[in-house]
Amino acid sequence: MNLNAVWTIYVFEMRRFFRTITQSLVSPVLSTSLYFVVFGAAIGSRIQEVEGVSYGAFIVPGLIMLSVMTQATSNASFGIYFPKFIGTIYELLSAPISFLEVVMGYVGAAATKALFIGIIILITAFFFVDIQIAHPFAMMAFLVLTCISFSLLGFIIGIWADNFEKLQLIPLLVITPLVFLGGSFYSITMLPPVWQTITLFNPVVYLISGFRWSFFGAADVGIGISLFAIALFTGACMAIIWWIFRTGWRIRQ
């Protein structure tokens, strides 16, 4: 294992993040604040409580998840797509490193950035609503796992994409809808029964539900099932990456 290389890739990627720190942070903070104003204050004032929590507080875990999932995916996919696009990938391919080190460097950096943004949003949320975190350690664990698993997904997308349209396609067509429909802004018990059943096929439901449990101690689905779902999703991403690594798919001709 060439840990030096992992660290080198990690630092290089993080530097890209800090170079554009203002954009990287201002936009999630701004959009979250807007969500709080619109959903929490304007609409939330008409909604009594959801599952015993004020609506403003209720949406916090979902909002964090929404940003973290999209940021992790887009950071990781762009991170590995960019060297392919500008041709600097030759360096990764001719260096004495295996694909494992490449994944650790890029996914590690993308997950860190997403985690950073998740925490910033959480801090922002404290300014708007009263929230208590029932299980802080579980909350961090869920957050970190989500960052890592969606960065793995993003990495796969970045390897698969051979143009910028494809790079945007999956986040736009798949992730955003799944996250919005995954109960970010509502409890799935608020849906008609048919939709409740359909929603159970959405993996994001389990993530948001588990994350919300760590805040309020209550959730749509059992915490055990949530953990199982996120483990399954992470495992699937790792399996695909292992296969990419074995075959050199889209990287090594």
Binding site: N4, T8, I9, F12, Y90
Partner: protein
């Protein structure tokens, strides 16, 4: 001398089925400069990419420093520096960061002093904090070389390092290459400038259509295949070549003001002495004589023509 890079029966077919390398075998000796000469599309870049791990061989084997590039890729690649043909660089990074990045990828601990030395050698030191996108094409090429040297390789591949580079920079580059050779680095460069191979290589390989046509000592190659011409300028024009000189196969030029004699430098006897005697006997007065050697270019063009 022993082979530091050994390629055996290497075949490479691309996804479309196109066979870019057809059973290539090549031994590169430790410490030499080998120039791979070949027209566009000959397979030079494919050969280098396959040795360096960018593409996967279809069949055959490659060792670098005795390590198999497939099964012992870490040990093999640690020895290699690669300067690719295309200028592929991260535009927003500084020169220093980009070069340090390369060193880190190869698992070497950070060593700013060494990297600054490399940058100085390449006249890049004053640009070390500049963003790469602000550099000229020639400077970017130097950055690529600095990146390849950042991890102290024993074998350096330069894929058309001087393509589209001005004469001055090309001379600079040759100096850098000579310096590296002196420090014991083995250098493989591809080029289609014959003068480049002639100027700096120890051995020359000619590749065309995925096949290595020959690999030979540059001097041997030129001696073996090169012919020399002796040009004799006469004091007075001669209308015909006198009969007694018929055996020399002379060519009359410049309205009979000069005669050209071709001979093989490797032959036992060049025949020059007897020719000059016979010229005098034939009553021809010489004003001046000069010799010319056919260049690698003539040899190269001849070889490539034969195979196409």
């Amino acid at each position: 001398m022993s082979a530091i890079v050994s390629v055996k029966n290497l075949r490479k077919s691309y996804a479309g089925g196109f066979e870019a390398l057809k059973s290539v075998s090549l031994d590169i000796e430790d410490g030499e400069i080998l120039a791979l000469l070949g027209p566009n599309g000959a397979g030079k870049t494919t050969l280098i990419s396959t040795i360096c791990g960018i593409t996967v061989p279809t069949s055959g084997s490659i060792t670098v420093g005795g390590f198999d590039t497939q099964t012992q890729f870490r040990a093999a690649r640690s020895l290699i520096g690669l300067v690719p043909q295309e200028i592929n660089l991260e535009p927003f990074e500084t020169v220093m960061n980009s070069v340090s990045f390369s060193r880190g990828l190869f698992g070497k601990p950070r060593n700013d002093a060494y990297i600054e030395d490399v940058l100085k050698q390449l006249s890049l030191h004053d640009k070390k904090d500049n963003k790469i996108m602000t550099l000229s094409g020639g400077m970017k090429r130097r950055v690529l070389i600095a990146k390849a040297l950042s991890h102290e390789p024993r074998v350096l591949f330069l894929d058309e390092p001087t393509a589209g580079v001005d004469v001055e920079l090309r001379k600079d580059m040759w100096e850098v290459v000579a310096g590296l050779k002196a420090s014991g680095v083995t250098i493989i460069l591809t080029t289609h400038y014959i003068e480049e191979a002639e100027a700096i290589a120890d051995r020359v390989g000619v590749i065309n259509k995925g096949e290595i046509l020959l690999v030979q000592d540059k001097a041997d190659l030129m001696a073996q295949m090169g012919q020399k011409q002796l040009k004799i300028e006469l004091a007075e024009a001669t209308a015909t070549i006198p009969d007694m000189l018929a055996g020399y196969d002379l060519e009359r030029a410049g309205d009979g003001m000069s005669l050209t004699y071709s001979y093989d430098t490797k032959g036992e006897r060049t025949g020059i002495t007897t020719l000059l005697n016979d010229l005098q006997k034939a009553g021809l007065q010489m004003k001046d004589i000069q010799t010319q050697q056919s260049s690698l270019e003539d040899i190269f063009v001849g070889l490539v023509k034969e195979t196409s």
